[in-house]
């Protein structure tokens, strides 16, 4: 159960790379175990909370007839994704800048300690932010279809395509 969110984010690993993923899984170079905080869960839960908040804002707090439509709904989806992109970026870039990402995850070194390859770059934080934006969009869609039914003005937004027989 603890790996659900990490597995979801794993679908986007091609964006941010395997070593950035190990950092997010909580790999500890000193103990060679995953005993650092699992950031997939921390960031994932924050993402879910933000997406849920904006869904509730759209369907229940604003709940305006003029917002009832796929276009407006999509703007709110983009809003949630943008916020979550920034959350993921600033969360991880603060670790990157402050040196909290451990050496064995950042570099391949030889026996003398010379750097052979860099494994994590600052741009990976942006790439993870983009991955988080996608996860946010997915969560937003799921929450929308779960919660829209009790909205007095926006329950038809968005609508599923129906094929005429």
């Amino acid at each position: 159960m603890e790996t659900i969110l990490g597995t979801v984010y794993g679908c986007f690993e091609f964006l941010f790379g395997p070593f950035f993923a190990e950092y997010l899984w909580g790999y500890n170079c000193d103990t060679q175990a995953y005993d650092n905080p699992n950031l997939f869960n921390s960031i994932g839960l924050t993402t879910i909370a933000i997406a849920l908040t904006i869904v509730l804002l759209y369907y229940y707090f604003l709940n305006h007839p003029r917002l009832n439509g796929a276009g407006h709904w999509f703007i709110f989806l983009l809003l949630a994704s943008a916020i979550n992109l920034l959350v993921a970026y600033f969360w991880t870039v603060s670790d990157y800048v402050s040196g909290n990402i451990q050496d064995c995850l950042q570099y391949t070194r030889d026996e003398a300690g010379n750097i052979l390859a860099q494994l994590i770059y600052k741009t990976d934080c942006w790439k993870f932010g983009m991955a988080n934006a996608w996860v946010s969009a997915i969560v937003f869609v799921i929450f929308s279809f779960m919660l829209k039914w009790w909205s007095s003005n926006c329950k038809h937004s968005p609508t599923l395509l129906k094929y005429k027989k």
Partner: protein
């Protein structure tokens, strides 16, 4: 989506993630902990036994490499602050305690003193000497035994049979001791000027003035010996320096090791990241392109083995012939020293077992004088009569139950 199902999904997701995100140490691994439960005092008493039988006189006539090497080693031991006290003894047919301090003890290392200290100096029963030394050795003491390690069967005896019997006796003595305590052995071979009588296997004395080998044995708990080895490495020996080393610890020990993240195309298992590989793939780059490759970093420091031994692939046995092994140093800042690098042309679900083998050193064969009759025979001067039997006796005691120091096991999943 059915609304009830949606609520249920949301509830499960949030509960599972909230449960895990606040916890640390979820994916810890304890199965490779090698913390010993042994309770040892911080500093051992070091008992120094210098053999003073007649065959040793030639090493102590004047100022020799023998004296410099022993004096320097014991001085280093004192100033390194790793020994509680140094107790000095002569040994032949009996143990003869010496009250002198280290400096006086070394300055008195002369043939006359050797003779004056008494005991039976006529012949040397190496097995008996080792038994006496080991009987005085326990978990709070370390023994340093200095000897030429030459067997002296005596006139008219079958030398071959004598050596084999001594080997068996030595095996028996060490086997019994190993039942009582965790004992490690380090044997340093050095050489020194020798001006005196060499006694051959028939106890016939021949005057020689040449360089002859002698041996310094360390016997005690491996942790103490490891400390001594670290503080006084073989390269720091004075005199002519250490020519050969042999060390043994008990086998089938658990050591710390871990698969190195990023050493190949694979993922680490989240529950057992040190020992389990998942999603193994063949490398597409580096020197192992087209092969499944990974590295394991291991800590073999508890075995007292030198770098040359640990870097020799002949000392490792793999249960899977598809894998090739190479040895290197672990990367900088790694808590480990030795890196075991593996590569295989095929990937299959398996458990790879790598055993670090206990092997007798080849130098004992090269340094062994099997005859012990003519010291002027080619190469006999730099050899020791029966040293191979002596070392083999010790080796057989340690390898009676197992022939490997440790077994590293890596689980591989595709």
């Amino acid at each position: 989506m059915n609304m009830k199902h949606g609520y249920f999904f949301l509830f499960i997701l949030l509960t599972a993630c909230a449960d895990s995100s606040s916890r640390r140490g979820t994916f810890t691994q304890n199965d490779q902990e090698s913390e010993s439960a042994e309770m040892l005092i911080s500093k051992p008493v070091v008992n120094v036994y210098v053999e003073n039988s007649g065959s040793m006189d030639g090493y102590v006539k004047g100022i020799t490499d023998f004296e410099q090497a022993v004096y320097n080693y014991l001085t280093d031991l004192q100033i390194s602050d790793i020994a509680d006290t140094l107790q000095l003894f002569y040994i032949n047919s009996q143990i003869i305690p010496q009250q002198a301090n280290l400096t006086d003890f070394i300055e008195n290392l002369e043939p006359q003193t050797f003779r004056a200290r008494g005991g039976n100096r006529e012949s040397t029963d190496i097995a008996q000497l080792l038994q006496m030394v080991l009987s005085e050795t326990n978990d709070s003491t370390v023994a340093i035994f200095v000897s030429d390690c030459i067997f002296s069967p005596g006139r008219g005896k079958n030398a071959g049979q004598y050596l084999v019997n001594q080997q068996i006796a030595i095996k028996s003595i060490f086997s019994e001791k190993l039942k009582q305590q965790n004992l490690a052995v380090i044997v340093y071979q050095l050489s020194s000027q020798f001006a005196g009588y060499y006694y051959n296997r028939e106890n016939c004395a021949v005057a020689i003035n040449d360089r002859r080998p002698f041996y310094i044995w360390l016997l005690g708990n491996p942790k103490y010996l490891s400390q001594m080895q670290t503080n006084i490495p073989a390269t720091k020996f004075k005199g002519s320096g250490v020519q050969q080393v042999f060390s043994l610890t008990t086998g089938n020990q658990t050591v710390n090791y871990a698969i190195r993240l990023g050493s190949g195309d694979f993922k680490l298992d989240k529950q057992h990241p040190k020992t389990h590989i998942t999603q193994a793939k063949k490398s597409t780059h580096h020197k192992n392109a087209g092969k499944f490759a990974f590295s394991v970093d291991a800590d073999f420091s508890s075995f007292l083995l030198d770098d040359a031994y640990l870097k020799d692939t002949a000392h490792y046995r793999l249960n899977d012939t598809d894998f090739q092994i190479s040895l290197s140093n672990s990367p900088h800042h790694s808590p480990y020293v030795t890196a075991l690098n593996f590569a295989s042309p095929i990937i299959k679900k398996s458990v790879l077992s790598v055993r670090l083998l206990m092997q007798a050193p080849e130098w004992t064969t090269q340094m062994n004088d099997n005859e012990g009759l003519d010291i002027f025979a080619p190469d006999a001067m730099r050899k020791t009569f029966g040293i191979k039997y002596l070392i083999d006796g010790v080796f057989e005691a340690y390898t009676r139950k197992t022939d490997y120091y440790t077994d590293i096991r890596i689980s591989i999943n595709k």
